[in-house]
Symmetry: C2
């Protein structure tokens, strides 16, 4: 049934619509129901409030939450009662240790996308994945049904892609890899995500240089024009179940079951028709993978799943025990990447350049652009000669940005504070998690200019009083908070420094 | 901060309050927060909506959900921002396989009671219990902290109690056991629950005979007066975390982890100072426990936990493969129990009387009222002589009911339908789950008069055309639905009856 939206002066953190009692009765909706709103191609599960006077018959009261997120141009909003999902029985089957078929998984995912599962039921599904696990066959089916329940984009070209499983701060390597690959003549239309728990996702960093939000049609046009792109995947509607699970369960509970991670990555790739994929698996303390044995096991699963889905996957296991490059936070990372591109890698941090060129090299090798073992050399050649920078300018322009943007134009935070080494010594460790926490406290990723510059990495010699970390913020209060936190957390440990004191036992 | 409640014409299925923007700012509340309302001694986590015009400064808009459930007599409502709970880190520790200390469990439970955990976070806790499990030490601590975070009642007497873990329809045995024990001079102030997934909980059945809702003070007075009571535990505030978990997680997800079940039962007992407890563990197809081995293991855990908590527990493993007695549904079960009491057990179904007297006997033995092995005989003597009925009249009167209430006064549903045996044969099985489903379809427990009468149990001989099941309902639509369902489900299987037909393989 369609209703005329009237906007109500009501601010909530969740979707809610106000329905007139009589309309609700006609629809068979009671106050303990939820409803599904159809807004263009999307379905949104919403809370309801029934009212006799606040909203007239035929109208529906819409608050700021929905108004801000969706367009109500068409002037009519379709509302139906959210059904109690039969597929919850399949979720229960998985909870009890069962194996789900393609059809069963399809119903679960369809119900999630259609707004027929509550957040609690979705949590039960994700936690059953965590504790019961899934077979490779289930993961293959899960990936496929996640693709089938969303948008897909057909480029009619061989598609290359790069993906990092994340977890390491400062990981702006896509901004170096994508233009390098595209400059070699390979088509690489990269979708990326915004930060969930990190100080900057690839989409956040890229958004400093050019717009990243597109419809599927616009994305296709942009990517084909420049031979590559770096856009935000969030509004494309690819594998929407994934976004729903992240928003409703994985982020609030801080869980990310392996099967869901595999299906999440591959569903996005499958939806854009990726043929060749290089996967970055960072390993080390504070990264998502703690040791090489686990990394190899995971790499094996990625290859297997890729094989089942017709995607050629080459995994690069990389060192992820400390941040990549020197900068953390959207504008600072964009600046670091842009400088590297303009300078052809001169003065670029080794960790950033070497990692980017190694992973780009893997793609150049599987594509046949380079002989085995020579991919990295080719990548370096492209990058050093400035061909990657020229391609990046094309990409920025195609996405609607200024191709002549300069590093010094980028809006880094104007409030700064420096931490200095308290002693002469060597840097023993730069802690990923602490760096993340401090950068977020400074305001990243929401405040684009907030972030950190790390002046020394593991093994570097430092003198007493030398700067080791600089904090950038857009607001003084956040600068102070981040500075306080840095003093407490000591994210950069220096050999010979007293880190903690254990009091003596006195009894 | 305190606000003046104004009632809004808004019906929701969850607690929501409408706050003026400026008041919210003063309280540091943003639209993505939730709030905790302090209503007398209870704390209720509530959604919020911020508004500029709907509600004036100093007022808070309260909808029908809260208005119906809580009294706002005091005319001021205290509202605070719900904090993000530090104890979620302990939940995460349990999710990752860790063991929780007393202090950690105490924080988790305190946060649940104070409204500081979201339903998702509570689901994570309950599902971690399900999948990771808890040691007996953790369960002991969990039980204790659940008691400490709620009301307790001190009777200053030796307290006896009876508890059934449930799952079998028609289980009105408390209405026979409690007056029998009390008639023997043992103090048995029983708290009971309303149905969650069954057609009638003990509190539902008892409510047909007398009021069951009391404050802790009233409950104490009532129980001491009659030497026993059967009241609803839901409004007493004993171990409130348990009620919250059931409402927010266990009922919607249909989960009941063993550790939570143990803690739930014992926390309610500990909160009323129970010293001796007889536990009914029904075993059989369609009961909560499938076989005797599992029942013995569980009985061992109950005894162990009782020992740790200072409660003497005697477990009775009973046959739970089919319904207890003949009647299912609040009024019908109350009628069956009252008839048994009045008639001193004459004409009472063997399954009901024998089970009740056996369990009562166990309590009489542990109390020393009877020698070992003679408890059941003593229970039968008390019951047959009508002493249990006299005591029940006292209990009904003390709770505010009419002690002279007669079975024929009870409001059983006026719409009836009978199912007849289609053949001559023997009853092979009466299916618990199907009986539950049909009785609920008829309207039980909400409609007190709805339910079933079962005319034959396992092993009984039936003739073609003889009634085997009668359905009672308060509304014809529900009667029809239940009748249709009964025809489909065939809850009573008769030997020689064709139950299902498997089609032949034709390929």
């Amino acid at each position: 049934m369609n209703f005329k939206p009237t906007f109500l002066d009501v601010d909530t953190s969740y979707p809610i619509v106000f329905l007139n009692f009589e309309d609700a009765q006609k629809l068979g909706i009671e106050s303990n129901d939820q409803v599904v709103l159809k807004i263009r191609r999307m379905k949104v599960r919403s809370f309801i409030a029934l009212t006799k006077k606040l909203v007239n018959k035929g109208s529906v009261g819409v608050g700021n939450y929905l108004r801000k997120r969706y367009s109500f141009e068409e002037n009519l909003l379709n509302i139906a009662r959210a059904k109690s999902a039969k597929s919850f029985n399949y979720i229960r089957k998985k909870m009890q240790g069962g194996k789900l078929s393609y059809t069963e998984l399809r119903e679960v995912i369809q119900d999630a996308v259609n707004g027929n599962l509550t957040n609690l039921e979705m949590a039960a599904f994700i936690l059953a994945e965590e504790y019961v696990g899934m077979t490779m066959e289930e993961i293959e089916h899960l990936t496929k049904v996640m693709v089938e329940t969303g948008e897909t984009i057909e480029f009619n070209r061989t598609v290359y892609d790069k993906h990092s499983i994340g977890g390491v701060p400062g990981n702006k390597i896509s901004l170096l890899i994508v233009p390098t690959i595209a400059a070699a003549g390979l088509f690489i239309p990269k979708t990326s995500s915004k930060a969930i728990t990190s100080p900057s996702g690839t989409a956040d960093t890229m958004s400093v240089l050019a717009p990243v939000e597109f419809t599927p049609e616009e994305f296709k046009e942009v990517a084909l024009k420049a031979g590559g792109a770096i856009v935000w995947g969030g509004r494309l509607g690819l594998a929407p179940a994934d976004d729903i699970f992240i928003r409703e369960v994985e982020r609030p509970l801080r869980v990310d079951p392996e099967s869901q991670m595999l299906a999440s990555i591959f569903s996005k790739k499958l939806a854009t028709g990726v043929n060749y994929l290089t996967l970055d698996l960072p390993v080390g303390e504070g990264a998502k993978i703690e040791n090489r044995k686990n990394a190899l096991e995971l790499a094996h699963k990625f290859s297997q799943l890729g094989h089942r889905l017709g995607i050629k996957v080459v995994c690069g296991i990389t060192y992820g025990g400390q941040p990549i490059g020197r900068c953390v936070g959207p504008a600072l990372e964009a600046k670091e990447a842009l400088e590297a591109l303009i300078n052809g890698g001169k003065n670029c941090s080794t960790s950033l350049l070497e990692k980017s060129m190694s992973l780009a090299g893997l793609l150049l090798e599987v594509s046949g652009k380079s002989r085995r073992g020579y991919g990295k050399d080719l990548a370096y050649e492209i990058f050093r000669k400035g061909r990657a920078y020229l391609k990046m300018k094309e990409i920025i322009e195609a996405q609607g940005g200024d191709p002549d943007i300069k590093p010094e134009d980028l809006p880094v935070g104007q409030h700064k504070a420096v931490l200095k080494s308290p002693i002469d010594g060597y840097i023993k460790k730069v802690d990923n998690e602490k760096i993340n926490e401090i950068a977020r406290k400074a305001g990243a990723p929401k405040e684009r200019g907030a972030g950190l510059v790390i002046y020394g990495k593991q093994g570097h010699k430092v003198k007493k009083g030398e700067p080791i970390l600089e904090i950038f913020a857009e607001r003084t209060t956040k600068l102070n908070d981040a500075y306080e936190l840095a003093l407490t957390l000591k994210p950069i440990a220096i050999e010979g420094m007293l880190l903690d004191i254990f009091p003596e036992i006195t009894t």
